[in-house]
Symmetry: C2
Subunit: 61 residues, 2 copies
DNA sequence: TTGACTATATATAATTT
DNA sequence: TAAATTATATATAGTCA
């Protein structure tokens, strides 16, 4: 998306991963939230960054 | 998205939830996959539909 | 950097078949 | 009708402050 078309392939450089990781993770979280609200779905989402940091989303349904 | 703007609020009618649920769940899965590949992230995603069906995505990192 | 912008790719609501 | 299409809303890659 955006100005360039992205290949779904590994961004090799760890530093270059950081901004995309942050943006995509945040978008994924938003989508999970929307699905949970719109369709009354229970969702758990767990993401570990390459650096080993944990991010999670969960709703109680 | 699409032709109408969607409110982030519960679709009350269970039948009317079904198509959006299927589309949004599939989009969420795709986004999770993209994040896992692009940024070498480990992700687990668990979704229960209102009907109690389980959908999951996980990558081994 | 971290965040804002914006041009453009993508996702999807409504529609059609 | 379930799948394909299409028009449009949304997400985001690249850019810049």
């Amino acid at each position: 998306m955006g100005r360039g078309k992205t290949q779904v392939k590994l961004i090799e450089d760890r530093t270059s991963q950081q901004v995309p990781f942050s943006k995509l993770r945040s978008g994924l979280h938003r989508k999970a939230f929307q699905l949970s609200v719109l369709c009354d779905a229970e969702i758990a989402l767990v993401v570990f960054s390459p650096g080993g940091r944990l991010y999670e989303f969960a709703n109680a349904g």
